[in-house]
């Protein structure tokens, strides 16, 4: 084969193999790893799939955080002030977790309507609220009021 053609063939080969490898990997990896966000109202309206990995979020309702007398399970209510969602979690809550503060949880919605969280995120300070949460609050018509 002509050297220039041979070289082009080699380069094209690498690119084609590489591109299909990349596409295959991306589609394989995306199957279960894209987590869509649902607000408590969405979930109450039955829009969220049961037993699929999703994210949910809102404000932690005051006085709703319960811990049993032993173990480190915790249960709390996340609300967008239009609907409530009960969340169960086993583990240590993040430092920034607090009642009346925004929170985003990742996990699965059980058949009983309780959200089993595998991860609780509360990356906020006084000024900052997760954008998903402020959006959800806006949609439910409850602009968060600063304490």
């Amino acid at each position: 084969m002509h050297p220039v053609r041979r070289q082009r063939l080699l380069i094209v080969l690498v690119i084609v193999v590489g591109a299909s490898l990349a596409a295959g990997l991306i589609f394989y990896a995306l199957r279960d790893n894209m987590n869509l966000f649902y607000s408590p109202s969405d979930i109450a309206a039955g829009k969220a799939p049961v037993d699929a990995r999703i994210r949910a979020g809102g404000m932690v309702r005051a006085g709703s955080v319960q811990r049993p007398a032993d173990g480190i399970e915790v249960q709390f209510v996340v609300t967008d002030y239009a609907a409530d969602l009960t969340v169960r979690y086993s583990g240590i809550l993040p430092d920034l977790f607090a009642e009346e503060q925004g929170v985003v949880v990742t996990g699965r919605l059980g058949g009983d309507g309780v959200f089993e969280a595998s991860e609780v995120l509360a990356k906020h300070d006084e000024e900052y609220m997760p954008p998903e949460v402020s959006e959800a609050l806006k949609q439910s018509g409850h602009i968060p009021v600063k304490p």
Binding site: P3, V4, R6, Q7, L10, I11, V14, I15, G18, A19, L21, A22, L25, I26, Y28, A29, L30, D32, N33, M34, N35, L36, F37, R55, R67, A69, D70, G71, I72, S90, G91, I92, L93, D95, L96, T106, K123, D125, E126, P130, P131, E132, E135
Partner: protein, 660 residues
């Protein structure tokens, strides 16, 4: 008065950068030596004024001038002095000023160390750096001036630096990271200068290589420091989260890795020239994209400071100008300088091409995972997040492919390897690597897992083949250690980098698979078993620091009845802003870390506690430092300085011939 002086210095710097961006280029285009020679003094002036501005910001922080908004927002009169100084880069405006300081430092270094470059090349390189400086100075002055005041009503004390950032890791991490990020502006400037001058030859690659290696090494150290900081300071023992901001720094590093290797081909063989230029443009563009992602507030993470849409729009515009402008220039000029040459399968350049393609794919898949949620949100498709499992699933197989070729590449010759004895060179290491992979879990005493086996196989493959390569290179003269000095420092840099990568691969796999983590409820006096270790909470006492108070636990760790460590995890509440922080108690070791963090106090006086045993976690940062050390070693190769001197002599000869 002092803050106004700071703003004034920045305005002067902007004017100088504006002149620097235009005049030397004009001189180079019209052949006027006097105009070209202006570049270096202009860079010196730019550096001086930016450095003064930075010094003034530090002075305002140290002097507790809370009339300056930035100082009020990021410092506090109770803050210890080192953190007052490091607060200069603890917030958005200040960190951009640090960015500018580092950019002008790089420009000054190029001006001083590249005196031997042809005058027009040097003028063009410095002018391109001037253009970048114009963009960032305008950004600072128009959207994020750190010297802005809140007069006449200013707070009597500051809001304090985020407690997460009150740490030695923060003093070091951003400057290192920025030295890398911004350092990629130098190869970018060399690439653009080469395109402008039509001088896209091997000597251009040779000039650019040490700068690229240096920036790449700094970025590697910066990323490793960030990972280490997250590990001990966020308090929960994670060392990599595939957080968008981490990705933002990791993508330029990966692209930079491709660039470092592609530059080698252009330097040694004169091939891949256009490709190398493109990589230099991409690497710097990814650095800018990282800045955009971090500074615009489109992301939600610990790194995202204040969100302000005008800033995002500015950086996006700047990014569009840089990428669009350089690609346009590339389209106009590159065909004129490209060249065809033969490329054979069993040649080092072909394996380096594979390296480049794999790294490019890795960057694209990470870019996709990072940008997809933002794009989906902008298009109203829903609020997605792409989690770590995606990144692990795409990244790990790619690294296996990379390592497979990485082991073999150095064994091959440039152009063509005629007498390559695959069976003799590769069979032994392959069998040994597989044996190591199968036996390691048993030797370690852990359960067999195919991830550990794969990690050990690929790490072992890279390690063994690198050793085989050293042996091959030393053998011809049979001179043993004396032969070692015959090999270039660039070669030893490559060896160190590859060995470091193998160490990193071991560390990542073993830590991920063999870590033991338990969240438990513990009262004082209670114990919990994690792996071979027993953790006992022996007490919790209140503590008081300069600007916080909290509780400190005492945790005794024993193994087989013998005490091995005493850990002191803390829970702190900072006075200003009443932010709560978890300070982990860590006993570090080469083969395992013991890690305890206090969760929250529970009703009956017991605590939620997380105990972890993390084997080989130090290997991750050790490996990353070795990789960066390889880059540093390559920078010091005398070959580059020799090349510069030759250029200078050739230039002088041409000049002499011209006047004769």
């Amino acid at each position: 008065m002092i803050p106004e002086l700071g703003t004034f210095c920045l305005i002067l710097a902007l004017c100088l950068a504006g002149v620097l961006a235009v005049v030397p280029l004009w001189g180079a285009a019209s052949g006027r030596t006097a105009l070209m020679a202006l570049a270096a003094p202009l860079v010196a002036g730019l550096f001086t004024f930016v450095a003064i501005a930075f010094g003034l910001l530090v002075a305002a922080l140290v002097g507790d001038d809370f009339s300056v908004q930035y100082v009020a927002g990021h410092s506090n009169s109770l803050l210890p002095l080192p953190y007052k100084i490091s607060a200069a880069w603890g917030g958005h405006e200040g960190s951009l000023l640090l960015w500018l300081l580092i950019l002008s430092t790089w420009a000054l270094a190029v001006a001083v160390l590249s005196r031997a470059l042809p005058l027009d090349m040097r003028a063009r390189v410095l002018a391109v750096l001037g253009m970048v400086a114009v963009g960032f100075l305008a950004f600072v002055l128009f959207t994020s001036n750190p010297f802005a005041r809140s007069l006449p009503f200013f707070p009597s004390d500051g809001a304090d630096l985020n407690p997460l950032l009150q740490d030695v890791g923060l003093i070091l991490h951003p400057p290192m990271l920025y030295l890398g990020y911004v350092g990629f502006s130098v190869p970018f400037a060399f690439a653009i200068a080469a395109l402008l001058g039509g001088r896209l030859d091997a000597s251009w690659a040779r000039w650019s290589r040490p700068w690229t290696n240096a920036a790449w090494a700094f970025l590697g150290v910066g990323i490793a420091l960030g990972s280490w900081w997250a590990y001990y300071e966020l308090g929960w023992g994670g060392w990599w989260f595939w957080d968008p901001v981490e990705n933002a720094s990791f993508m330029p590093w990966l692209m930079g890795t491709a660039l470092v290797h592609s530059l080698a081909v252009t330097d040694k063989r004169g091939l891949f020239r256009s490709w190398t230029v493109l990589l230099a443009i991409f690497t710097f563009s990814l650095s800018l994209l990282g800045t955009f992602l971090v500074r615009s507030g489109v992301l939600t993470s610990v790194h995202a400071f204040a969100s302000d849409p005008s800033r995002g729009v500015f950086i996006l515009g700047f990014l569009a100008v840089v990428v669009g402008g350089s690609l346009l220039l590339f389209a106009l000029r590159a065909p004129a300088v490209s060249r065809h040459a033969s490329l054979r399968l069993l040649s080092r350049e072909y394996f380096l091409l594979i390296n480049n393609v794999v790294l490019l794919i890795a960057v694209l898949t990470i870019l996709f995972g990072t940008l997809f949620p933002i794009v989906a949100d902008a298009l109203k498709l829903g609020k997605y997040s792409v989690g770590p499992p995606y990144f692990n699933a795409v990244f790990m197989p790619l690294m296996m492919v990379l390592i497979t070729f990485m082991g073999v590449g150095p064994l091959l010759s440039w152009k063509d390897t005629r007498d390559f004895n695959a069976r003799k060179l590769l069979l032994g290491p392959a069998v040994a690597a597989v044996l190591v992979g199968l036996l390691f879990p048993a030797a370690y005493g852990g359960a067999f897992s195919w991830q550990v086996a794969l990690g050990a196989v690929f790490g072992g493959w890279l390690l063994l083949l690198t050793l085989v390569d050293i042996w091959q290179k030393l053998r011809p003269g049979r001179r043993g250690l004396a032969g070692a000095s015959r090999l270039s420092r660039s070669y030893w840099g490559m060896v160190l980098g590859h060995l470091g990568f193998a160490v990193l691969a071991f560390g990542v796999t073993f830590t991920s698979q063999y870590s033991v983590e338990q969240d438990v409820r513990m009262a004082v006096g209670e114990s919990v078993q994690a792996g071979d270790y027993q953790f006992t909470l022996s007490g919790v006492e209140p503590v008081r620091g300069p600007n916080y108070q909290g509780d400190r636990g005492t945790v005794l760790v024993s193994r087989a009845g013998r005490q091995v460590a005493t850990l002191a995890p803390e829970k702190r509440r900072y006075s200003a802003g009443s932010q709560v922080m978890t300070e982990a108690g860590i006993a570090a070791g080469l083969f395992r870390d013991l890690y305890v963090s206090l969760g929250e106090p529970l009703a009956d006086g017991s605590w939620a506690v997380r105990v972890q045993v993390k084997p080989f976690v130090r290997w991750i940062w050790l490996g990353a430092l070795l990789v960066a050390g390889g880059g540093v070693l390559a920078v010091t190769d005398p070959r580059y300085r020799r090349a510069l001197r030759q250029t200078q002599r050739a230039g002088a000869a041409v000049a002499a011939a011209g006047t004769a």
